[in-house]
Symmetry: C2
Subunit: 379 residues, 2 copies
């Protein structure tokens, strides 16, 4: 199923053509094609660890003021691309824009996590949920187009959304949670309500990602940040099935160009064999996963993205380099030559910490590019 956007979706076709892509290493790796080195980007790379981000944030006001302003979002998305030799940009936005557009009332108290003014606690609240009008997310789609233009083809732009289950966690808990008590109580007590939330979320996420693709995203990523808190069995029923539902509705190409999709379940290592059958191009894995084993399980059909522990970046450059080599070696030499084969996209196993020294990221990028070039030369 390849559902077109609903008539209410934002008209996002750019008036001007986008610049041709210069560095295509990330997209090639997504498509299982050989690259001269292992491409790298970092989850949350446009963020608080960068002083230039903090300066924009101070100008913008609140986090939501920053995230909803096209110019600010464009500026901070480009910052890591300008400072580091990363091989992809990722849209600066929040994971919770979709439930906010559903009317749940997103806000961020300083120093705390996200909060919904109207969490989904009961049957009545579930009954009111609906796929939001994509016009309410036009600010995100406009940012995608703006960023794509601003990048000028330097590196590709990744769009993203939270997974249906991860969005449901926040929607039911009303914010972050340490034990997922409310959402799991609903899951085990009223699975019918949970399935209804997840169906709506899946259809909304699919429309949202499709709109990002039409707006200029050259790849999309589904962040299943809390899939790993589910029990075996529940993960398959309440997370994986709805990620599959999103994937079944996604545009696989735009303007004749294939749009790769990345699925990342934090803590999803135990279910990699089942994720291997997802209709996506790349699987993200966290640092608990052994990349040698992951390649055996899923590497013939999926590119693998990951998986350095973000805390490695607090160590001095020499140790960072050593850990980079460990990760590269664990994956092993990727596919080289023509055709397709196993490929690796270097990333962290989760978002970069706000406390990371930026110069350590410079060391990381250099180490990944240098050693992954050497690795290819050696084979």
């Amino acid at each position: 199923m390849n559902t077109p956007l609903t008539p209410t979706a934002a008209p996002v076709s750019p008036v001007l053509p986008f610049a041709p892509l210069i560095n295509d290493s990330f997209l090639r790796a997504c498509r299982h094609q050989a690259t001269d080195y292992t491409p790298l980007w970092m989850m949350r790379q446009a963020g608080r660890f960068l002083p230039e981000y903090r300066a924009v944030r101070a100008r913008a006001g609140s986090f939501m003021d920053l995230a909803t302003n096209v110019d600010f979002a464009t500026e901070v998305t480009l910052q890591p691309v300008q400072r580091f030799q990363v091989d992809a940009a990722i849209l600066f936005s929040d994971i919770l824009t979709v439930p906010d557009a559903m009317g749940l009332g997103l806000s961020f108290a300083e120093g705390e996590g996200p909060r919904f003014a109207h969490p989904v606690h009961d049957e009545a609240a579930v009954a009111q949920l609906a796929v939001p009008d994509m016009d309410k997310l036009r600010y995100v789609l406009d940012a995608v187009t703006s960023i794509r233009h601003a990048l000028g083809g330097k590196v590709p732009l990744i769009g993203f959304s939270g997974s249906p289950w991860t969005l449901a966690c926040y929607m039911v808990e009303g914010g972050s949670s340490s034990d997922y008590r409310l959402v799991k109580t609903m899951l085990y007590s009223r699975p019918d309500l949970m399935h209804r939330i997840l169906q709506i979320n899946a259809d909304a996420v699919a429309q949202y990602l499709n709109a990002q693709i039409l707006a200029g995203a050259q790849a999309v990523m589904i962040f299943d940040s809390w899939g790993g808190v589910l029990a075996d069995g529940a993960f398959q029923t309440f997370s994986l099935a709805y990620t599959r539902r999103v994937l079944s509705q996604l545009h696989k190409a735009c303007c004749g160009v294939h749009i790769p999709c990345i699925v990342f379940t934090k803590g999803g290592g135990p279910w990699l064999d089942e994720m291997e059958s997802l209709d996506c191009d790349v699987l993200g894995v966290d640092w608990t996963v052994n990349l040698t084993q992951a390649r055996l399980i899923a590497g013939s059909s999926k590119a693998l993205q990951g998986n350095l522990d973000p805390n490695v970046l607090f160590a001095p450059p020499a140790q960072i380099e050593a850990e980079v080599i460990r990760v590269l070696d664990a994956f092993g030499t990727p596919h080289t030559g023509s055709g397709t084969g196993p490929t690796h996209i270097f990333n962290l196993g989760h978002g970069i910490s706000q406390h990371t020294p930026p110069e350590h990221v410079t060391a990381l990028v250099q180490a990944v590019h240098h050693h992954s070039r050497q690795m290819r030369g050696a084979c």
Copy 2:
């Protein structure tokens, strides 16, 4: 290596003999022997979800006043045994008694987690660490003996300790952590310091568990609560190796009776194949683990303990029963008859939530005992 207690260890030999054991189903399952039903206990079963616990806590004052008082510790340890048909008791104590005895100054602020007054942040603090005099932990050992007497042989008593790595997390972070930044920074920047902490912790934990065994513990459990936050590779080097170091020093028997040891790494599912080679009797697994697969990987040499998501206990009894059957069926019919074979000890995948309705635990215990008897009858 089976190291005797140091001369400074508390003299814990009981003056009176303990009563003979009536319900030995838990110990039989630990030893891979057949039982009429699947024995059950719950991590944190003596705790805040019980009104009778909260009453004792109110009488005692602070958490530490409760944990360090032999009479209080005895009373609350017995509460779940009296209320439910659980098949084992577990010592009521805190996971951080050992670093407290090292002089780190443990306290609990109301509504917050544990705090150390003197966290281990630098080389000087590491240099000062030493295996504590077991006399400083006499209050725990006296509680073990008191509880064993108070149980009167009704069910066996489990002693426990945090794992070397889990203790190190708290010692370096100074308390609970959401990102393990400080402890991982030390691990990656100064692995020499981390290894020194872990060596001391391992030797201290071994002495502590041996002292509990001599004081009357009939099984011991190592809680590697934070092993699962480590990267693949780091887990083996900084957690598993030191759990192994503890196990190599443990008394395997006391008074001619084998003392089973349980190792539980929360989030340890990815490394079950490596944990299979540990010199212990039982592996605990959390709810992300598929018990069918775990039995294939480790079930021929290890009993498996787990793994219901504690959040299932917020659902009504009918759903609890359905989830119990799922867990029992995932393990499959355990060994029956004479000799030894695969066995299962029912437990939660983590500690029971303080918000759990006690009557739901009654439903859990009934469901486990009833269905696991039926399962054996059917084979």
